[in-house]
Amino acid sequence: MMDCSEYRRSVLADPHDANPELALHRNSCGDCREYTGRLLRFEGRLERARRVSAPAAGDARRAPRSVRGVRIPSGVLRARRGWLAAAASVLVVLAVAGSLWLAATPPSLASAVVAHVADEPQAWSGGDAPVASPELAQVLRGAHMRLGADAGMVSYAQSCLFRGRHVPHLVVQTSRGPVTVMVLVHESVSKAVPFDEDGYRGIILPSPGHGSLAVLLRGQDVGASAIKQIAERVQGAIEWTG
């Protein structure tokens, strides 16, 4: 049986570790449950902190390469220039490289979904028990919907403020692991929008007459077609009531 010290060492190394032994200990130890709650709040701040802005391509506001007391290597730039000068395929490479830095802005709706999910890391860790039916129904009521059992076990359900509207934010347990579902009844997309950003992979599907549905997973283990299948299964389990 795992003790508190071992449990805390494990969750400090990986707060989202889905090891069942950790869940077992957490469920049986109030102190460690409280400790985990505090750690996950810290993790939420950490996830927000790492989201520094990625400057747009060609952004000229570059920091100086040297300041007093700090030595920054300039070899990278020199090497690039040298390589470019020597490369026989310079025109092709420059054309590609130049275009790489253009239009790097990710889809704004997908980015907003990712940012929102990253701000609620605790949602992923509640996989042991289903959300009580009345609580789930209350979250879904605002979106005028019900969710059938085919979607999978719902382990997290909150009504979250997203771009000015409260929307259902769910975590559904699937054979591929926990999947976040956001029902964006006020956000329309004309076609399926796959995305891969900040360690999250997902897809936004149009829901004709009911905005759109965002489905996403953490990590890189699941391919785009599998994500689409999961999203379509969840979408098929939705019953609109209004």
Binding site: R8, A13, L46, A49, R50, V76, V93, W101
Partner: protein, 175 residues
Amino acid sequence: MKDDVGGNPKRARFQALCQALRPDLLRFAFWLSRDRALAEDVVQETMLRAWKAQDSLLDEAAAKPWFLTIIRREYARCFERKRLVTVDVDELIAREEPMLGAAQDQDIAELRAALFKLPEEYREPLVLQVLMGYSTAEIAAELKLSNAAVLTRLFRGRKQLRLMCGEDAALDPEE
């Protein structure tokens, strides 16, 4: 099938891949190097190298780890060419203010500063885990460490970070 990027589907695919991954790659390079200009240089050089070596990328689903490996190598090359002698982290933080952005709350600003101060051996696995969503096994493969060593570094890194941020670490376990 033709595309609108010079009529070259291969180039178009590669460009789309780079566009999708660039924000994450740049953030990773930034947290690794703690220097925005250097991060941009490293990412640009990475993409040039990736373009040259794109035939070795057999599965586009594996593109992100493939790019990250090139970034790490490219970053290491910087130090082979010219090793950093001294780094004043407070000055680094002040200099990187535009990239770090005006944090909406003081907590986040402090946490970013603490991340900057974390030793590289702890910062890198933590960034791979938190920023890139890597599992312990994936971090171990990327850093050529054992799973146990990665877990130890993550544990120590997070513990140091919490202490630097003034978190109540009294209940954190000893090693």
